[in-house]
């Protein structure tokens, strides 16, 4: 199961609305626990596929390294990724599957219809190798508590 706060859930959906008709993408930071991936923070990433941004996304490895460094300082790990499907189902595509290599991570997809976020689904990449990997439908638990981002903002205001 994927656990994330309502504010992070809303934020990743809003990201998809903002980039419509292009795909958005980002990284889920948190901790992997026996009951699933717990998201503590989401980080927006740039989509480098400017040649076909309406139906492709790619996060630059350089950006990913920066995000990973930042996460480690906070005691967090990369536990998943999110992206949007503009005017397409919130289901993984063959491209999503072929390009998925982070086993154990959650891949969250939001359908954005005419600029409005619709269904959001999560898929857990499982397996032991490229040859036997597969996506499993992953339940999402929306937690009503403050995200790390909100707590940081509050600390800044105090």
């Amino acid at each position: 199961m994927l656990h994330l706060t309502y504010s992070d859930y809303s934020a990743l959906r809003t990201h998809g609305e903002e980039t419509y008709p292009h795909e958005c993408c980002g990284v889920l930071l948190g901790n992997s626990q026996p009951d699933g991936n717990h998201v503590r923070q989401i980080v927006r990433a740039g989509n480098t596929r400017t040649d076909s941004a309406h139906n492709r996304y790619n996060i630059a490895p350089e950006e990913l390294i920066r995000i990973q460094r930042q996460a480690r300082k906070q005691g967090l790990d990369i536990v998943g990724f999110y992206h949007s499907h503009p005017d397409c189902p919130a289901q993984w595509s063959q491209t999503d599957f072929a390009e998925a290599h982070w086993v154990g991570c959650s891949y969250v997809i939001t359908r954005v219809d005419q600029g409005k976020a619709a269904v959001t689904n999560s898929f857990l990449l499982t397996g032991t190798s490229e040859e036997d990997k597969k996506f499993l439908d992953e339940p999402v638990e929306i937690e009503v508590r403050k995200s790390a981002t909100e707590l940081e903002q509050e600390k800044g205001k105090a």
Partner: protein, 95 residues
């Protein structure tokens, strides 16, 4: 040098986020890594022994594919090598 292990490969390094290995070049460090953790090899290299296309290796902030000496690039104890599988995908369908 220190090698940063991404989340999906930590199952093969005893859960360690990073490991320290000896080596005078990137290639030697990688060899030391896969000798210490043999199960990692198949996840980094194809059956032909080539680095898998979706595996990115960064020496500090540089992609080793674009370094003049590539895996023969000399490294120092303070250098960090990051293994970063690619993140990509996207919807192909149209309304």
């Amino acid at each position: 040098m220190k090698i940063n292990i991404p989340t999906p490969l930590r199952a093969y390094t005893g859960g360690q986020q990073s490991v320290s290995v000896p080596g005078a070049t990137v290639g030697e460090a990688l060899e030391a890594l896969t000798c210490a953790y043999p199960d990692l090899r198949q996840h980094l290299y194809s059956a032909e022994g080539k680095l898998r296309s979706f595996v990115n290796l960064y020496l500090n902030d540089d992609d080793i594919r674009y370094l003049p000496q590539k895996e023969a690039t000399p490294v120092e104890e303070s250098d960090e090598l990051s293994i970063i599988p690619s993140i990509a995908g996207g919807c192909r369908c149209y309304l």
